[in-house]
Assembly symmetry: C2
Homo-oligomer: 379 residues x 2
């Protein structure tokens, strides 16, 4: 029996369930999806295979991967009503709002929304496929007002970039975006995944649970962080970096893109993106070069100040510069995060349902009881 007065603020350090999906070793700086290291997966695998892994728990053979990719490709089309909604909303609302509403609509249009669980893996594939199409459509419609129909003959990531830009991507762009999708695909019980599981724990449907994930990811303390980190880098482009950092830290402010509740060493995902960013800089335009230069300076300065406190750059610190290299508008970063995280959300929902338990923690009550109800004239 635990002490009833212990309050686990933010549920930090509280275990709420078992899982075999993701190991985050915050001390060694390692990350595994179903036992495979993030280094191996970004180096040797691709997003479709990683999605299969997250849905099934093992790596597929050629036949299984081909069937899975085919199934994903078949689900790429977006309902016309959803396209029209996106067309009406771009420029008027943040892309994350448009994405959550559009994905909620996908749930509304799902004729089998109330069906039993055997359909859920199929629904997950539909979600992973459609959220990328919808994100690309929002990106394209908000930048150039055009909608490009999906192409079922190319890979998931190629199609994403094709729908986003209206032209088929080259190999470099595809590999970069594929790596970004893999790096964001899964990360344990982060707030958006946990939110999806809370929704799923009432036996609500998988699509509704994903919408909870999207709406939770939207917050600046979670998925919005890479957008914020890049805006910070833009903001300090021309100032001396030391001075900027001192000013923020002296006012108890936060340097965006640093620190993580789990990692007490260098975030392995940040290390991968950092290496990638270094390798593409020779071909980058001035905007990206200046951003990266600022970022590396901030990192260096923060190292002297923060290494003792185990505060390092996280994933969000470098990802914005890779997205900018690919000419992705800043407001699309979080929707892309959502599209790439969708296999992780689905994986956790499906796993949790195998041993479902309603999630209902407690408040420690600090208010009154038995207050007398006075008539309105006597108040």
């Amino acid at each position: 029996m635990k002490d009833k007065l212990e309050i686990n603020l933010g549920l930090e350090g509280t275990y709420f369930s078992k899982s075999e999906i993701c190991k985050i070793d915050g001390i060694k700086g390692k990350l595994y999806y179903f036992g495979y290291s993030i280094e191996d997966l970004t180096d040797k695998s691709n997003f479709e295979e990683v999605s299969y892994l997250l849905m099934n728990g093992y790596l597929p053979n050629r036949k299984k991967l081909s069937d899975f990719s085919h199934q994903m490709a078949e689900q790429r089309d977006i309902d016309n009503n959803v396209i029209n909604f996106i067309k009406r909303m771009v420029g008027k609302s943040h892309p994350m709002h448009i994405l959550s509403t559009a994905m909620d609509m996908v749930g509304s249009y799902d004729k089998k929304a109330e069906s039993d669980n055997e359909l859920n893996k199929t629904k997950a594939i539909n979600i992973i496929s459609k959220i990328s199409s919808i994100t690309a459509a929002i990106g394209s419609l908000s930048t150039n007002g055009k909608y490009t129909n999906p192409d079922a003959s190319i890979s998931h990531i190629e199609n994403f970039l094709y729908m986003f830009n209206g032209i088929k991507p080259n190999m470099e762009a595809t590999k970069l975006m594929d790596t970004m999708f893999i790096l964001h695909a899964e990360h344990g019980s982060n707030a958006s995944t946990f939110s999806s599981i809370v929704t799923a724990s009432t036996l609500s449907d998988i699509n509704s649970a994903i919408v909870s994930g999207i709406n939770t990811l939207k917050g600046p303390l979670h998925g919005g962080a890479d957008e914020r980190a890049l805006r910070m880098l833009y903001g300090i482009k021309e100032k001396p970096v030391q001075q900027y950092i001192n000013k923020i830290l002296e006012n108890n402010g936060r340097i965006m893109g640093f620190g993580h509740r789990i990692y007490k060493t260098y975030d392995p995902r940040a290390r991968i993106i950092r290496t990638m960013l270094k390798s593409l800089l020779p071909n980058a335009n001035d905007e990206v070069k200046i951003l990266a230069d600022t970022a590396f300076n901030v990192e260096k300065e923060m190292k002297t100040r923060m290494e003792d406190r185990h505060i390092y750059p996280n994933l969000d610190f470098f990802s914005g510069q890779v997205y900018r290299y690919l000419d992705i508008p800043i407001e699309m970063f979080t929707p892309i995060f959502a599209a790439s995280r969708s296999p992780g959300w689905c994986s956790h929902i499906l796993e949790y349902w195998k041993n479902n338990r309603l999630i209902r923690p407690l408040f420690y009550y600090t208010g009154e009881v038995d207050l007398p109800y006075k008539r309105i004239g006597d108040r």
Copy 2:
């Protein structure tokens, strides 16, 4: 330092934050909103005043209540695009799906979606007002295909029934529905409220957090329970009740509408609805009379079997019969639950933000690490 291997399944018994909004005394069977008993509130207050209480923490004087009611009334109109979406979807999708998408659209149309927190109380009033209009519109459009414009000159509940039925309600219907709204307005850290808070904890916006609440409430283990309880009662209308109960319990099934994770005695809300139901039976039609008769028989039979185990009827067991007395279609029960719970959700989001902390519990990892990545041909 707590034992790191302790897993709090479903977070049962785990305190995650302090709150002064709601006291649920599961032993004495008492419920308080900001210190006022649910008996006093249902007997002497009304839904608008209770919403004010939940937003502000104290009961208003005449002037404050009048200003608040006026502000609520001003927000009743629904955007035409949302009305058109509802028109397209009714009959094709469950009203809860339509409601979550429609409320997500309300967030998308919110021009100040990304604004700072000082607007949040105003946004909460908008949400509480609009979710009722939208729920009524879904109810009306799905039963008779008609949309009734809101009327700002009548009370929140009168307007809800007016938009739902197309005619102004009588005093009895208004009082009944008002009581149902108050009874459902707040209930501590239930799954939907917790889900709203998880979303809010990333500093996502209040509307997105409410959508998480709606999507979580949707599940049959939570808001869907009254719909399920009534369907059960319909199902056993003509059979001997004892026989039905024995069959379910022998197969380890669940009698819907019984038991609660917090209440280990009679649910005070169930007691209030039960009394209300008894009083209106003389004027009820045969459908409601038969349903209530079955319900009272089920309750009696369950008492002999379950009193030792502290399993009693909960709110959901009797609410369906009151809704049916008001001729509310069964699929509208959960959307009405959402509309009435919205002040509770908003109250908790606003309170949590005063001392915000990202909610991120942990999984206990049971999987592998360092699996060798084999090439696809070698699998």
